[in-house]
C-alpha cells in the first residue's frame, strides 16, 4: 500500500512522527469531583447510620461506593492522560480512551464549525471543551479539558485553517 515505515506496526494509535498535546490534568480534578459527589454521600450516610445505631456491620455496604470511588479515581487519571490531540499540516488528530481506544482524523477543509463550551464546574477548574463538527454526524471529535486560552487559540486556528482549505461537500 505504501511505505511501511511511515506507521509503526505495533501501535496504530500512536502514529510515528506525531507530537501529541495532552489535555490539562485539571480535567481529572473536575471529573473526580463529579465522582466523589456521587459516591461519598452514600458512604457518609452509612457511616452516620452505623454510628447512631452502633451497628458496625452497616459499614459493609459502604465498601461498594468506596471501591467505585477508588477505581474511578485511578481510571479517570489514566483516561485524562490518554486524551490527546495533534495539529498536523492538513488535519487534526484526536485520540482518546484506555480500554476502548479511538483516534479520529478531521481534515481542516471538512470542518463546518467549532464549538467551545465550559460549564460551571469546568470554569471553576479553568478548563473548556472544544468540539469539531463536519458535515457528518458520525464525526466524534471533541477535546475536553483545554485551558480556556488554548481552547480559544485552537478555535481561531482551526477556523482560519478551515477557511483556507474549505471545499464544498
Amino acid at each position: 500500500l505504501c511505505d511501511p515505515d511511515r506507521v509503526s506496526a505495533a501501535e496504530p494509535f500512536d502514529p510515528a512522527g506525531v507530537r501529541w498535546t495532552r489535555v490539562s490534568p485539571r480535567l481529572a480534578g473536575a471529573r473526580r469531583v463529579v465522582l466523589a459527589v456521587t459516591t461519598l454521600p452514600i458512604v457518609v450516610a452509612l457511616a452516620v447510620a452505623a454510628a447512631l445505631l452502633s451497628w458496625p456491620l452497616l459499614m459493609l455496604p459502604a465498601l461498594v461506593p468506596l471501591a467505585i470511588l477508588l477505581w474511578g479515581w485511578i481510571v479517570i487519571g489514566r483516561q485524562v492522560r490518554a486524551w490527546g490531540y495533534a495539529e498536523r499540516e492538513d488535519d487534526l488528530l484526536v485520540r482518546r480512551g484506555v480500554l476502548w481506544r479511538a483516534i479520529v482524523v478531521v481534515p481542516y477543509g471538512r470542518m463546518q464549525y467549532v464549538d467551545v463550551q465550559a460549564g460551571p464546574l469546568d470554569r471553576a477548574f479553568g478548563i473548556a471543551r472544544l468540539q469539531l463538527h463536519t458535515a457528518s454526524a458520525a464525526t466524534d471529535a471533541q477535546i475536553p479539558g483545554l485551558p480556556p486560552q488554548e481552547a480559544a487559540r485552537l478555535r481561531d486556528r482551526l477556523a482560519s485553517r478551515g477557511q483556507a482549505q474549505l471545499a464544498g461537500l
Binding site: E11, P12, V106, A135
Partner: protein
C-alpha cells in the same frame, strides 16, 4: 423600473429576474384538506340528524326547539371558526412568496412569525417534485430544494401547478449548473431512461424481505400452537404484528411503486410512488456514498438494492426506511452496477484491471482477489463467518468497503467526499491486534465501517485516507457542474455514460460496438 435609474450591469439581481411569485391559488384548499374533510363529515352528520329529527314526530316541540337552538349556536361558533381558519389560510397564502435571483432561491413565509429563507443555488444538493395524493388530484406539485444544512434545511415550494414546478426545476438546475441562456424559459435537460423496476420484481422483493418472512414464520408458529392448544387464543397476537408488518411493507411498496431511473445532464432522475409520487433529481457530484446491498434471500435471484447518501436527504437512521435515499429498491446486478457507474463514472481503476471485476469482487468476493485487503486470520475469533469477506480496496478515486457473509454489502465512498475517518479498538481487539476503521460520510443510510482490520493496515489506511481525501478534494470539479463543461474540460456527461450493459466503459475492453 420606471423611476429612470440606469440599470447597473454589475447588479446581480436585475429587476427583470427577481420578480416575486405566489403559490398556486388552490394551495390553501389542498393544505387544509383534512380540515375540509372533517368539516364535510360534520355538516353531513348535522343534516342527517336534522332529517332524522324531522322524521321523528314523537319528539316534543319544546325539546326540539331547544335542540335546534343549541345546534344553531354550535353552527355559529363552527362557522366563525371556519371563517377564521379560511381567512388565516388565505392570508398565509398571500404572505408566502418566492423569487429566484441569479444565485439563490428566496422564500418568505409566515403571518405572525415571519420567515425569510434564502438558499444558495450552487449549494443545491437535490431537487424533488413531490405530489402527495390530494395535491395530485388537484394537479398540483410541491417543489423541494435540498441544501446541506442538516434537518429541516430544505426549501419547499408548496404548491405549484405541475407545469410550473417542472419548468422551475429546470430553471433552478440550470442556474445551479452555471448554464446561461437567453430564452425566457429555462431549457429542459434531455433525459434518457435507464431502467424501470417491473412490478413482479418489486412484489417478489417485498415477499422475500425480512418483515414478510418473519411474519410468515410467526403465522406458522401461531397456527401450530392453535392446533396444539385447540384454542384460537394465540391468534390474538396476530393483530399487532400484522399491522406493523403491513405498514412497513406498505411504506416500501408505496414508495417504490413504478420506480424509474433516467439520466440527464442535470443528474439522475428518479420517479416513483403510488399515492404520493416523487420525481427526484440528484445532480452530478452530489452523491456522497453508495451502498449496494443484498439480503440473503435475494441471493438466488442475484437482486441488489442501491442506496445513497445525499447531503440534503440525510438524517435517517440505518434501519429507518427513507424513500428519498433509495436509488434502486431492487434490481439485477447489472442494473445496480450500472447505477453505481452513473453516479460515480470514474471508479479510478486503471486499464489492465476492469472496474467491473473489482466491483464484482466487492459484491460477492472473498479473500484477496481484485486487490481487496481483508481481515487477518486472528479476526476469526471475533467474526468467524465473515472475516474473509470483510475487506477494502483503495482505487485512485474511491474507497470500496465490503462486508457481510449473509447480508452482503458494498460501500463505495469517493475520496473527495470523505468527511473524516476514525479507528477504534476494544480490549479483545487489542489482544488480537485488530482495529475497526470507520469512514464518516454525511447523514444517510450508508455508514461505512470495517471491523477487525489488522492494526498496521488500519493505521496506514487512516493515515493515507486523510491524505487521499485532501488531494482528491483539491482536484474535484466545481459545484456548478456545467461550468466545467463550458470551459472545455471533461464534464460529467451522464448522457453518454448511461449505458447499463457496459458500465465503466472507459477502463474496459470494448465488447459491444453495435450500440449507438
Amino acid at each position: 423600473v420606471t423611476d429612470g435609474a440606469p440599470a447597473d450591469p454589475a447588479d446581480p439581481d436585475p429587476q427583470g429576474e427577481a420578480e416575486w411569485h405566489h403559490m398556486h391559488p388552490l394551495t390553501p384548499v389542498v393544505r387544509s384538506w383534512r380540515v375540509l374533510v372533517v368539516m364535510l363529515v360534520f355538516i353531513a352528520q348535522g343534516w342527517g340528524q336534522e332529517a332524522m329529527q324531522g322524521g321523528g314526530s314523537a319528539i316534543p316541540d319544546v325539546g326540539r326547539n331547544l335542540d335546534v337552538g343549541l345546534l344553531g349556536g354550535g353552527a355559529v361558533v363552527f362557522l366563525l371558526l371556519v371563517a377564521i381558519g379560511a381567512g388565516y389560510s388565505v392570508l398565509s397564502w398571500r404572505m408566502t412568496r418566492y423569487r429566484i435571483t441569479q444565485d439563490a432561491l428566496e422564500l418568505h413565509t409566515g403571518v405572525l412569525f415571519r420567515q425569510q429563507r434564502r438558499a444558495r443555488l450552487d449549494r443545491l444538493q437535490a431537487v424533488d417534485v413531490v405530489q402527495p395524493f390530494v395535491a395530485r388530484i388537484a394537479g398540483l406539485s410541491q417543489l423541494t430544494l435540498e441544501v446541506a444544512g442538516g434537518a429541516g434545511s430544505s426549501v419547499a415550494l408548496s404548491y405549484l401547478s405541475e407545469e410550473r414546478a417542472v419548468s422551475l426545476r429546470g430553471h433552478l438546475l440550470a442556474r445551479a449548473a452555471g448554464v446561461s441562456y437567453d430564452t425566457e424559459e429555462a431549457p429542459q435537460a434531455p433525459e434518457r431512461p435507464v431502467l424501470e423496476v417491473p412490478f413482479p420484481r418489486l412484489a417478489g422483493s417485498l415477499a422475500l424481505s425480512g418483515p414478510a418472512i418473519s411474519a410468515t414464520l410467526l403465522l406458522l408458529g401461531l397456527l401450530v400452537s392453535v392446533a396444539a392448544l385447540r384454542s384460537a387464543a394465540p391468534l390474538a397476537a396476530l393483530v399487532p404484528t400484522s399491522i406493523g408488518v403491513a405498514s412497513v411493507l406498505w411504506t416500501r411498496f408505496n414508495g417504490s411503486f413504478h420506480f424509474r431511473v433516467a439520466a440527464s445532464p442535470d443528474g439522475l432522475r428518479l420517479r416513483h410512488g403510488l399515492l404520493e409520487q416523487r420525481a427526484q433529481t440528484v445532480p452530478p457530484g452530489r452523491v456522497q456514498a453508495v451502498r449496494l446491498a443484498q439480503p440473503l434471500l435475494w441471493r438466488r435471484l442475484d437482486w441488489w438494492s442501491v442506496r445513497v447518501n445525499v447531503a440534503g436527504y440525510g438524517g435517517t437512521s440505518e434501519n429507518q426506511e427513507s424513500t428519498e435515499s433509495v436509488l434502486l429498491p431492487v434490481g439485477t446486478r447489472d442494473e445496480a452496477v450500472g447505477l453505481l457507474a452513473l453516479v460515480l463514472p470514474d471508479l479510478g481503476v486503471s486499464p489492465p484491471e476492469h472496474p467491473r471485476a473489482v466491483v464484482d469482487a466487492g459484491l460477492q468476493g472473498f479473500g484477496e482477489r481484485a486487490g481487496f485487503v481483508t481481515s487477518p486470520a486472528s479476526a476469526r475469533w471475533l467474526d468467524p463467518w465473515a472475516w474473509r469477506r470483510t475487506g477494502f480496496r483503495v482505487t485512485d478515486q474511491a474507497l470500496l468497503l465490503r462486508r457481510g457473509r449473509f447480508r452482503r454489502h458494498l460501500d463505495v465512498v469517493p475520496h473527495a467526499r470523505t468527511q473524516s475517518c476514525a479507528l477504534a479498538q476494544g480490549p479483545l481487539q487489542r489482544r488480537l491486534g485488530l482495529v475497526t476503521f470507520a469512514l464518516h460520510s454525511t447523514p444517510g443510510p450508508v455508514r461505512p465501517v470495517l471491523p477487525h482490520l489488522a492494526g498496521d493496515v488500519g493505521a496506514r489506511l487512516l493515515d493515507e485516507q486523510a491524505d487521499r481525501a485532501r488531494r482528491a478534494r483539491s482536484a474535484a470539479g466545481p459545484e456548478r457542474w456545467m461550468e466545467h463543461l463550458a470551459a472545455g474540460g471533461p464534464g460529467p456527461d451522464l448522457q453518454e455514460s448511461a449505458d447499463l450493459e457496459e458500465p465503466f466503459d472507459a477502463g474496459g475492453p470494448a465488447q459491444d460496438v453495435s450500440r449507438p
